[in-house]
Symmetry: C2
Subunit: 253 residues, 2 copies
């Protein structure tokens, strides 16, 4: 089980990371969403919900709710995995490719967006062995310009309010979290560049390289099982097909 | 006048930036050096010197000393510049290139290494209009490994002491300074990569692009002065030389 936390000041691009992670089949939780859910349940504003939650259950309440969510999901994943494995095995008898569902549920990787205080980091590190923090940095000017454009509920086109909001988050201790982050991403120039960096981080650090491992195993077990021999045949046919293609190309020349 | 501050936790690579900046002719001050100087003058340890300085002159004493140093240097620079300009003019009468000295003194750019607290940043911003902060980030693991290797006076091979030192700096508020930095550099992989990034930052953001301006002027004044015609001749000869080389290559084939 691998758990990553994402931190960054408002407008740095935290939501971009979680959007891409979701697409890659990583289960992501937003700490802000946990508060928003509670606010909806009680029919109060998010600010009030945060205060009430903390008063009732302590400072780590949001973090602990995230932990229970992740642990539940991981359990369900294992159950689902078992059932899907059966499906998969029955599939393999018919020599079919594993279904997409299987691949998605297989990953035991989680992302928690919106970590703000070093206490939360300490709590997550206690709960998850290999907890790592990803920080995103954008310069204040860049963030202010972005927030002016996006206009969410709590975004303001007033620079003083922007500085105030930054200070509120910094007083939670987000600066310490950013300074001690395990990975740092810079989101300064065009957004596509940043997205590429995020994807590179996901493929290199967050997701294990399963494909390569499988390939190595296959090459070691060469010519040992019927299934592999079949695979080899298939490969040869594939090569033949390729050769035919190449021949065609040469003939055309 | 342009002033930049460099911040980063121990072992992140602050001294690399100031070393490169010095080579590029930028006047750099280390806030740690200011304390070390005072300690040498009084013949006490740096820790004691820092405490005494702060008690006597207030929290911003180191920052204010840096400011006076920079302002003095800037004044001297202007005086020196005037004298060197005379030199330069006398040189130009003899049709010679401006001396290297002139180029070095010409830059009114300053770098302050080792900013630790947001109060210092606020102080510098008051003193210098366009003050910008450059932060360097390395993951804690990477920094710890570096400090183990470097073994300065205050570096320790003990992980707990390393964490303690980080916490001391974070309690000064260095996390806030890093989170609100205008430029962020990542120093994670091999050092030459980081050095290249530093050089790119210096040429793109810190130093104005004087060379390009000069070139444009030259191209506008084409064929107007004797000097330029000489330059053109030189260029042609260079091309001829190149052509000869190419011809030789073709002959060999």
């Amino acid at each position: 089980m691998k758990v990553f936390g994402v931190t960054g000041l408002p407008g740095s691009g935290k939501s971009i990371i979680s959007r891409i992670a979701k697409k890659e089949g990583i289960y992501t939780i937003s700490m802000g969403d946990v508060i928003r859910e509670e606010a909806e349940r009680r029919n109060i504003t998010t600010g009030k919900a945060a205060v009430i939650l903390r008063k009732k259950y302590g400072n780590n309440v949001v973090a602990s709710r995230c932990v229970t969510k992740i642990k539940n999901h991981s359990k369900n994943r294992h159950n689902k995995r078992a059932t899907v494995k059966k499906m998969y095995n029955s599939h393999t008898n018919h020599n079919k490719h594993p279904p997409k569902k299987y691949k998605k549920i297989e990953q035991d990787i989680y992302l928690i967006e919106g970590i703000r205080s070093p206490y939360e980091v300490a709590y997550f590190k206690k709960q998850f062995n290999n907890f790592k923090v990803i920080a995103i940095h954008s310069s204040p000017n860049e963030r202010f310009n972005r927030l002016k454009r996006r206009k969410r509920n709590d975004d303001s086109p007033d620079y003083n309010k922007f500085v105030e909001r930054d200070q509120r988050e910094l007083n939670f201790g987000i600066g310490k979290v950013i300074a001690l982050a395990d990975y740092m991403l810079i989101n300064e120039g065009p957004i596509p560049n940043f997205k590429n960096n995020v994807r590179a981080l996901i493929t290199n650090e967050i997701k294990p390289k399963r494909k390569n491992i499988n390939r190595k195993r296959k090459s070691k077990n060469k010519n040992k099982s019927k299934q592999n021999r079949k695979y080899q045949k298939g490969k040869k046919q594939y090569n033949k097909h390729n050769n035919r293609k190449n021949n065609n190309k040469q003939n055309r020349r």
